[in-house]
Each structure stands twice: as structure tokens, then as C-alpha cells.
Subunit: 341 residues, 2 copies
DNA sequence: TTTATAATTGCAATCGATTGCCTAAAGTAT
DNA sequence: ATACTTTAGGCAATCGATTGCAATTATAAA
């Protein structure tokens, strides 16, 4: 029940017979104040258990040292890693992180972004929801001169920094690897083509086939299989074909790859001998399945850090920078599920 | 370069020849304003692209509809699930989440908590860092009448809501299960005993052994093995004993259990026939190892939701509530690594 | 000693929204 | 028609920190 009022700079000023402005200067380490006075104020502030009221400060300063993050799901390995990496950078700068999850819903994404705008955050970091809609909410962010950084799932048309993986290249490498391992009929599990990342992965797949003189077969491409369950269903369908694939590249996710692995194993198909598998994301579990799953590491923590660096770099150069796209090079992690040489 | 100033309620008031207070009332849906006027204001606000300045509002109201979260690591399955569950609840209430990670360091935990106090958040949700120190920072939270909810790793002495798993019971059940499966020399990988959760798990283990008339053997208890690597090392040591254990309960984490599985498999030991394994946390990967790993589900998303519910419940009853401990019942998930009957 | 300059400190406005209090107008009852 | 109650809306203080400008004091230069 001790609802002691918060100590304010006025309380400190009164106690020391000074003006609040002097207290403020002392606390913000200004040089417009005598060293002794400053020391005294600091000491008294500590004694009185002073904690700055960030709202008052931010209101007056017209800025808020906070970065807002909007991701589809907080508890997805890739996203939580992005956040962890980003937090690493922001913490060092004394910035806070406010997090929203869109749950892949456009309406929630809009609500989240608006809440962040209300808080006058200094930047918003976003990976857009699978359910897409108007991009007015993001345009508004730009209009209000709030830094906007998109990552992974980006809207190309918006002129913002973008931090993405080179999905095309990663996908290309994966398929090339499968080809080199002697697989000849390589199927693709593809994600929703509205999202550029999935389009790029498909293009990488196609390019690799083409460059190696392989035919492009529509029947080997399976749309929207990005969960374990859908991966398994897709696999069942693919393996029932007259001439089934001898490798499946689950470009959607490792979860889909896991579905492939389980469905194929259940059918008694030997991996990697009879069927090669490659996933995407390097989820921790890919290392410990049997066989372990070949996949692509996206360097998510690195990406998070890069996003943070970009934000502060842009802040310093105050808008004069060209909004560029940073490509993080993903890396093919070859494991047992695709090694038969 | 269009750095258009933000629209404020004054801009709206001026345009409509009204007082700012009326605009404020309209926007906050007060009943002290005429319905038509309200509609007009709302319409104009939308046209002028008005977004409330949350800082000004929060400063004036002396409160901030935000909950701060401090966890050891954002990108750990358990914690990111807690956050996801919590976010579910807070979003519905229009509250924001500010996230800090302590990285298991006390200093960072203190810094995070202080930042949250500065922001005058309405509540702080915390799971304390492994590296412990003074609890002054948390005491200060209480002194300032900010709701404090501890979860999972809690400081018993602080009088706050606590949301925890019944670690004792879960541990007891796990060991009971191993005994029922015919295992006779059950080893324990235990976590840092400064943290109550690990003490409780050990006590559950001891109680189960005792209740079933098993001897308590110091040599079967292995301290601080809570990563995959340490789990593997511990296993190697344990299996070298003259009479090695026939089951290992990795009470620290599933990662440790995975280490056990790998180390044992590498030695050619058959699981579950020759060695039973049980982990803790129901990490997604436990389902897909071979064999799959018996573990304990902590219902982390549920926990997150419960934390949120508690916060708002306490807010409504404004402090009159007794700060109680909520026990989430964990559940033993029996899988292949411990089933030999 | 006088004047110029620099170093400190105080004053008061400001950020934008909220809210208690007050007034005017409109509505209701007798 | 008079008195009383509602209703609507305005005024101005307030939340706590910051900051431009003014005032004061100390220091240096002449």
C-alpha cells in the first residue's frame, strides 16, 4: 500500500534549491552545468531513487528511442532469431523493442503498425503477413518519416530498406547440389506465390534445372505445401505418380521437408538412396532427424543484427541514404538426406 | 522529404472551430459530447489522417497500456511461446508488449527492468536470469506499484504473482514412469540448484525413488548438464561407471536429453532397450528424433495466456488480490525413448 | 578598476492529450 | 411562466522533462 509518488526532477530541484532545468541538465550530462552541482544532483537523484519518466522525455523530445517489430509469429525459430539478433543491437544503443505478431492476418498487421505509429517509434521492422491487403498502413509509416525496414517477406514496391536472403541463389545451389548427387527428377514444394520469397525460390529452382539441361515438368511442382502435414500429403501424391520424383526440394520450409521425410519413410522408401530431400531454413531439428536433412541456413541472427545496424546507420545519415536492399547470403547445409555419392 | 507535421487534436479543433477538449472527448468516445458533433469530429480526424500521440496521452493519464517482458532468451522455444501466448491476451486488450532479453546476465536484467520502469509500464513479466544478484531492481518495481508477475524461474521471497509449472509433480511422474517401465538405476541430470525449478525437479526425482523403495545414489546425479554438449559428456561419464544407469532423466532440458541420446547411440547402446531417456520441455524436435524422446510438456502458450489473464485480473481488482502462485500442470509425454514394455 | 567574456543557473514555454470545473443553452416539470 | 435539471462544450491546469533565452555570477583581459 505504499503508493509513494514517483520522484520527479522537481522534487530533486526543490530539495536542493535549484531549478528543474539544472537537474535536467545534470541528468542528461549536459556541459552547461557546473561539475560540482552536477555531482550533487546525481547523488541526490540516486538517493531519492529517481527514475526518469520516459514518456515525458519522449513527448518533449518528439522522439521515442524504440523500434517496433511486426512479425507473423513470434515463436517461429526464424523470427525469434531475427528478434534476438536485433535486440542485441538495439540494447547496446539503449533502444527498446516493441513486438507485435500479425498471426499472418492483415488486419492484425495493420493494428500493430498503427499502435507503433501512435507510439512514435523511431523505426518499424516488418515481415509482412501471408494474408495480404492494402499497403496503406506502411505508406503511412513512410509519410510520417518513421524509418521502415522490411525483411524476408517484403513488398517490392515500397521504397524502404530491405533485408532479404538471396532466395534465388540459395534455391539454385540446392537444386544444383541435388543434380550433382545424381538425382534426375527433382520435385519442388512451393509456397504461396504472392510472396516474393517463394517466387524467387521457384525461379532459382527453374534456373538450375535449365542451366543443367533438365526439362521443366509442371507435374513435379506442388503448390502451397508449407507445413509438415501438407508436405506429407504432397509427398504421398508425388510418389504415386507413374514416374515419381527421385528428389524433393521443400522450398517452403524444413517442416515441409520433415513431412516429406516421414511420409516417404512410412512408405518404406530409403533416404537418400531412393529419394533425396532438401528443406529450407535450417531449423534446429533438421540436424537430428534420421537421416539428417539437407537445408539452407538463412543466418537469421545475422539478419536481425543487420537490420539493427541499418536502422542506426540511416538514423545518423538522416534520410539522405539511398534505400537499398541488403542481401544476406544463405548457405546450403548438406546433410545425409541428399548425399548418395 | 514530405515531413508533414503530425495532425494533433488542436489541428482538428481549429478546423472545426471547436475546443481541443471536445475533440479529445469525441476521440475517447466520451458521453459528454453530442452525437452529431462526435461523428463530425471522427470523420474529420480520419480525413486529416489523425493518429493519437500515445506519449502525450500516457503522460497525462499517468499510465501506459504496456506490459514489459524480460526473459533470458527470446529465441528459446519455451520463452517465445510464453511471449506468443501473452501477446494473444494483451493484443485483445489493446496493450503493447515491450521485450527485453537478459541473456542470462544479471546486469542486463537490471537494465531491462529499469528501462521498463522508466516507461511506466503497467506490468512487468519476468523469468529471472541464471546469473543471480540482488533483487533490488524487482523490489523497486513493487515499490512503484507496477504489477510484477514472475514465471517459471521465480524468486520465492518476492511477494508477487507467480506462474510456474509443478516441477516436482512432473519430475515425480517421469521417474515413476521410468520405474514402471522396469528401469532400475535411474540417473538424473540436474540444473543449477540456485534456481528453484531445478531444485524442485530434483526433489521430485528423489521423492519418486523413495516412494518406490529405490535407493538414492549420489553417483547417479550429475550436476549442471543443461545443453546438448554437456548432456553428452555427462552420459559418457555415467556409462563408464562400473554399474552404469539403465535410464537417464535429463531434468534440465530436452537438449540435454538429445545429448544423451546421441552419446548413447554413438556408443552402440540401444534405446529404449538398454537405456531409457526422458527429457524436459517437449521441444518440437523430441517428436522426431529416433527414437522419439519421452518428455514433459510445460504448456508454454497456456502459461503465457495465464500470465496475461492474471495481469488484467489484478488490474481490475486493483491490488486487493492476494498474490498467489498459479501452478500449471505439466504433462508427461511418453514416447519411444522410455517405452520397453 | 573597469569592461568584456565565459560559465552557471533560472525562467517559462513547449510537447499533445486529458479532465475538473464552469457557463450557456436546451429540455423538463410544476 | 418559473425554477430546476441535463447536456454540450469551452477554459485552463496538468502530466514531467527539455531547451531557448535571459539573468546572474565568476573569470579574464585591459
Amino acid at each position: 500500500m505504499k503508493s509513494q509518488k514517483r520522484t520527479t526532477i522537481y522534487d530533486i530541484a526543490q530539495k536542493l534549491n535549484l531549478a528543474a532545468s539544472s537537474v535536467s541538465r545534470a541528468l542528461s550530462n549536459s556541459d552547461k552545468i557546473n561539475a560540482e552541482t552536477k555531482a550533487l544532483i546525481l547523488k541526490t537523484a540516486a538517493e531519492m531513487n529517481y527514475q526518469q519518466n520516459a514518456m515525458a522525455s519522449n513527448l518533449r523530445k518528439g522522439s521515442n528511442p524504440t523500434i517496433g517489430v511486426v512479425v507473423p509469429r513470434i515463436n517461429q525459430y526464424f523470427f525469434s532469431n531475427i528478434i534476438a539478433g536485433l535486440e542485441e543491437v538495439t540494447f547496446k544503443k539503449g533502444y527498446n523493442l516493441v513486438i507485435c505478431q500479425s498471426n499472418e492476418l492483415h488486419a492484425r498487421e495493420v493494428a500493430g503498425v498503427n499502435a507503433l505509429v501512435n507510439q512514435n517509434v523511431s523505426g518499424i521492422v516488418i515481415s509482412i503477413a501471408a494474408e495480404q491487403g492494402s499497403s496503406d498502413h506502411l505508406q503511412q509509416v513512410l509519410d510520417r518519416n518513421i524509418q521502415l525496414i522490411q525483411f524476408d517477406r517484403v513488398l517490392e514496391d515500397l521504397e524502404t530498406f530491405k533485408v532479404v536472403n538471396d532466395n534465388h541463389k540459395a534455391s539454385y545451389e540446392a537444386v544444383k547440389h541435388l543434380i550433382e548427387q545424381g538425382y534426375r527428377r527433382i520435385a519442388l514444394l512451393e509456397g504461396p506465390q504472392e510472396l516474393p520469397i517463394f517466387r524467387e525460390r521457384k525461379e532459382g529452382y527453374l534456373a538450375a534445372l535449365k542451366d543443367h539441361g533438365f526439362p521443366i515438368l509442371e507435374e513435379l511442382m506442388y503448390t502451397n505445401a508449407w507445413t509438415k502435414e501438407l508436405g506429407a500429403i504432397a509427398t504421398a501424391k508425388l510418389l504415386e505418380m507413374a514416374s515419381p520424383p527421385d528428389a524433393i526440394f521443400a522450398s517452403t520450409s524444413d517442416f515441409a521437408a520433415l513431412g516429406v521425410l516421414e511420409a516417404a519413410t512410412a512408405k518404406g522408401i530409403r533416404i537418400p538412396e531412393e529419394l533425396g530431400i532438401c528443406g529450407y531454413s535450417n531449423e534446429p531439428f533438421t540436424e537430428i532427424t534420421s537421416p539428417s536433412i539437407t537445408t539452407i541456413d538463412q543466418f537469421s541472427i545475422e539478419m536481425g543484427k543487420t537490420i539493427g545496424d541499418l536502422h542506426f546507420q540511416e538514423l545518423d545519415n538522416s534520410g539522405a541514404v539511398i534505400k537499398k536492399t541488403v542481401n544476406i547470403k544463405p548457405k546450403l547445409i548438406v546433410r545425409k538426406s541428399s548425399q548418395r555419392i
